[in-house]
């Protein structure tokens, strides 16, 4: 039994090596999300106040932290994208210009500022532009935890009844949008219009 212990490091190494190799060989498939086809978890969080951004005289100390509280009802009524981002995330910076493009095409995007600092988030939006209709400030990462966020960036497609229909982990770009999200988004939009009002 004692001798077996000595083989433990080797076994761990082999398992790790096989996993890495298997990872390299694996067919790139999106991982299934546990929350797909489930409603957005309940939350009540402040929205980041981005309206008072003033490039001329940025008086950071006197910025009001929140615009008000929002909850999961935010997603009811229209098809939206929920984009998880943070200023500490370099990949989010890469993704940012594409979000602006989507906004320009009329796709509504709600931001989830994940485990971040309000002031930094505001600076970021000031510097790179704001593609979001509204930004939820999730300082503690509570909503992120409920959503099962792996790391930023992540993007969720949410239908007009507030149910998550698709989850993309990683940078959203034109290829991902066209191949994975756009078809579903269009059909959801079409379905939404058919609904009796």
């Amino acid at each position: 039994m004692e001798r077996v212990k000595l083989f433990l490091p080797l076994l761990i190494f082999i398992v790790l090596a096989v996993m890495l190799y298997w990872g390299l060989e694996r067919d790139p498939n999106a991982m299934p999300s546990a929350l797909v086809d489930r409603p957005v978890p309940a939350f009540t969080l402040p929205a980041l106040n981005v309206d008072s951004l003033d490039t001329e005289n940025l008086d950071v100390d006197n910025l009001d932290a929140d615009k008000g509280l929002v909850d999961e009802q935010l997603f009811v009524g229209k098809v939206t994208l929920l984009n998880v981002w943070a200023t500490w995330c370099p990949s989010c910076r890469i993704e940012h210009p594409y979000l602006a493009e989507l906004t320009a095409q009329g796709v509504p995007i709600i931001g989830l500022n994940y485990k971040d600092d309000d002031e930094k988030a505001r600076r970021w939006l000031l510097r790179y532009g704001n593609p979001y209709q509204l930004v939820i400030a999730d300082h503690q990462g509570r909503l992120g935890l409920d959503l099962g966020v792996f790391g930023a960036p992540e993007t969720y497609l949410i239908d007009s009844t507030g149910v998550i229909r698709f989850k993309h982990v990683g940078v959203l770009n034109d290829r991902v949008w066209q191949s994975k999200i756009a078809p579903l988004y269009q059909s959801l939009r079409a379905g939404e219009e058919k609904l009796p009002r």
Binding site: F13, I94, R127, V169, G170
Partner: protein, 678 residues
């Protein structure tokens, strides 16, 4: 011709390394002393050829030989000479050659300073180091040859070195880091030699210790330099980003720290032996992983891997052979037979065990955070950043707990230290450190928050325990001076390193929690006040450097109306590659840094976006790092290691061991163990 000479020298170095890898090892199997003795001359020869090859590459850079592809890609005519030299290790091929050069330097040093070690051990150690060298030479020659020519169409001028790398920090940072990484190969080679021989006694641990401490001290310096460089060169005002490249150097540092502590236990008490060997293997494996992953660009993008499959496959196979092979040897030859020496739960052994476990857990957390985005990327889950929140959330509490037990552990006794005695020792430092911490926050007028309060208290706790221990140990009937001289170099090294940790904790805490920063729009003539300092933007001017033009802002910093500094941040435009660089200007002292960087020009000849930071005590971070490295340096040259190394390797039952300082000595007699207070 220089390129061909360099290439040829590299091939000769490979041939000698091949000889050195196998002849002495066969000698140990056949008890052939001549074969074993051949290890040293071959190590000297390998060193000579590795140095020659490296010098050739340096000369190619200095002589602007753009017919060599590597030179053309990383240098140009306008580059100042000192950067031409540092450009040698600015990219993949050259930094691998530097790695191989430093490995041959360590091999040379081991061959030179091992006169007093048994020939068998020397033969095995040098063989193992040569095997690693063979791996590197083959990788260089077959996939990453820095001497490859671009013929017949050589460019007239080169592309220029990445401006980020045109900096004094980058001249010395990689060599320091590599001295650390590669230095752990010595501990690794000693561990494999011990496994081959089936013998790892107190003498083995004593021989391994100074080498390991040396490598660790270099790595500490390397990490500090890297952090300092990021701070003043990147223009973001941060000093640590939990970036994969930083993590790659931090992981071997953590396990290396665990290793130097477990070596102490292995030497003095004969415990934790298999664990020590495993740590030596782990530390060097992480160094290798760091080198390859960082340099191959795999960590930033898997596509770098795919771009050159030959390199990728070679790296994977090499890592598998080195790590898998050494772990296989460990599995078959590692002895589970621990000495029966027992220790109470309240003892120095327990504290050091706690230290080892916490350090390894911290490493595991960082490894997971570093590799996870890579795994996610190869598995097609998309690109993900695991950000600082993850690392800070796990690492900060671990580091604080570690510092708390470090202070107690370095004072506690081997085998058994009655918990009641430790508790009575702990009472007043606990109270005083909380008061000191609150006092520091109060005097500076900082807001009270739990984390800074706790962190500062931990730092004070470490300093109090360390200094009190020194005060007690240095008391002597012949006076304080005589008493403090009597203490060993290794004790002072430990003291300095531990206080260095406290100093770094103070720096990290105050900077992280109480820095002030502003991003502003400023035109020449305007002024702004940040954290009690007035910044006046006087003028903007244009200047010309050797290979760039720059726009420079002139800022005057006033405190209560008195001028305290003039800062000149620059925005540089490099002609070679067309890159733009932000050169921040910093006025710093031990109490605070004032940092001004130019962002973007908002309108021609007028307003700039300006970034201003006031960072309290930020230099303490690097001061602490320097103290830690110096502590390692002092401990390494302790005469004890040399004196004992000269005696014949005694059987471990007779090995006399000494405990920190001279207060307590534990003598392990044959079987019977007794403790006497000296």
């Amino acid at each position: 011709m220089t390129a061909e000479f360099g290439h040829f020298a590299l091939i000769l170095a490979l041939c000698l390394a091949l000889g050195q890898a196998f002849v002495p090892l066969l000698g140990t199997l056949r008890a052939n002393r001549l074969w074993m003795a051949s290890a040293r001359p071959m190590a000297y020869g390998q060193f000579v050829f590795a140095v020659s090859s490296f010098i050739c590459l340096v000369m190619l850079f200095l002589g602007d030989d753009f017919s060599v592809r590597y030179v053309a890609e990383n240098s140009n005519l306008n580059l100042p000479d000192r950067y031409k030299v540092s450009a040698v290790w600015a990219a993949h091929e050259g930094s691998l050659l530097l790695w191989a050069l430093i490995l041959s330097m360590w091999t040379f040093a081991v061959a030179l300073f091992s006169r007093n070690l048994p020939l068998e051990l020397v033969a095995r150690v040098l063989s193992v180091m040569a095997m690693i060298a063979v791996g590197f030479y083959l990788f260089l020659l077959f996939t990453s040859n820095p001497f490859e020519r671009l013929l017949p169409f050589s460019p007239v001028d080169g592309k220029d070195l990445n401006p980020l790398l045109q900096d004094i920090g980058l001249i010395i940072h990689p060599p320091m880091l590599y001295m650390g990484y590669v230095g752990f190969s010595v501990a690794f080679a000693f561990a494999l030699a011990a496994l081959m021989a089936g013998r790892f006694d107190a003498a083995w641990a004593r021989w391994t210790r100074p080498w390991t401490i040396a490598a660790w001290a270099f790595l500490t310096l390397g990490i500090c330099l890297g952090s300092w460089w990021a701070y003043y060169e990147l223009g973001w005002g941060g000093w640590w980003f939990w970036d994969p490249v930083e993590n790659a150097s931090f992981m071997p540092w953590l396990t290396g720290t665990a290793l130097i502590h477990s070596l102490a236990v292995a030497e003095k008490r004969g415990l934790f032996r298999s664990w020590t060997l495993l740590l030596a293997i782990l530390t060097f494996s992480l160094s290798l992983l760091g080198t390859f992953l960082v340099r191959s660009g795999v960590l930033t993008s898997v596509h770098a891997f795919a771009a050159d499959p030959a390199r990728g496959i070679y790296i994977l196979v090499f890592l598998a052979v080195v790590i898998g092979g050494s772990l296989l040897l460990f599995a078959f030859r590692g002895q589970t037979l621990q000495r029966t020496a027992s220790f109470n739960w309240s003892s120095r052994e327990t504290f050091l065990l706690g230290n080892n476990l916490l350090l390894v857990v911290a490493m595991g957390v960082i490894l997971l955070g570093t590799l996870y985005p890579l795994v996610a990327d190869v598995a097609g889950w998309g690109k993900i950043s695991v950000g600082p929140p993850y690392f800070n959330w796990f690492f900060v509490p671990l580091a604080l707990i570690l510092a708390v037990i470090m202070a107690v552990g370095s004072v506690s006794r081997w085998k058994h230290h009655p918990p009641a005695m430790l508790a009575s020792l702990a009472l007043w430092p606990a109270l005083v450190s909380i008061v000191v911490s609150a006092g520091v926050l109060f005097i500076h007028g900082y807001s009270f928050a739990l984390l800074p309060l706790v962190s500062l208290a931990v730092a004070a706790w470490v300093v109090i325990w360390s200094l009190r221990d020194w005060w007690r140990k240095s008391s002597s009937s012949r006076g304080r001076l005589a008493g403090s001289r009597r203490l060993r170099g290794s004790y002072y090294g430990m003291l300095l390193a531990h206080i260095g940790i406290a100093v770094a904790i103070v720096g990290v805490t105050l900077t992280s929690h109480y820095s002030e920063q502003r991003d502003l729009r400023l035109s020449p003539g305007e002024a702004v006040s940040v954290a009690g300092y007035d910044f006046e933007f006087r003028a903007e001017e244009r200047i010309r450097g050797p290979n760039y033009v720059a726009r420079r802002g002139r800022f005057e910093v006033l405190r209560r109306g008195a001028l305290i500094a003039e800062l000149n941040p620059e925005k540089r435009y490099y002609s070679g590659g067309g890159q733009v660089m932000t050169e921040a200007d910093i006025d710093g002292n031990l109490r605070r840094d004032i940092y001004v960087a130019l962002g973007e020009a908002l309108e021609e000849g007028g307003a700039w976006s300006v970034r201003i930071y006031v960072k309290p005590y930020v230099r303490w971070i690097w001061l602490g790092g320097l103290m830690i490295a110096m502590g390692g340096g002092i401990a390494m040259v302790d005469k004890r290691y040399r004196r004992l190394a000269q005696t014949r390797p005694r059987s471990e039952a007779q090995a006399g061991v000494e405990v920190s300082g001279t207060e307590q000595q534990i003598t392990e007699g044959s079987g019977a163990q007794q403790q006497r207070n000296g």
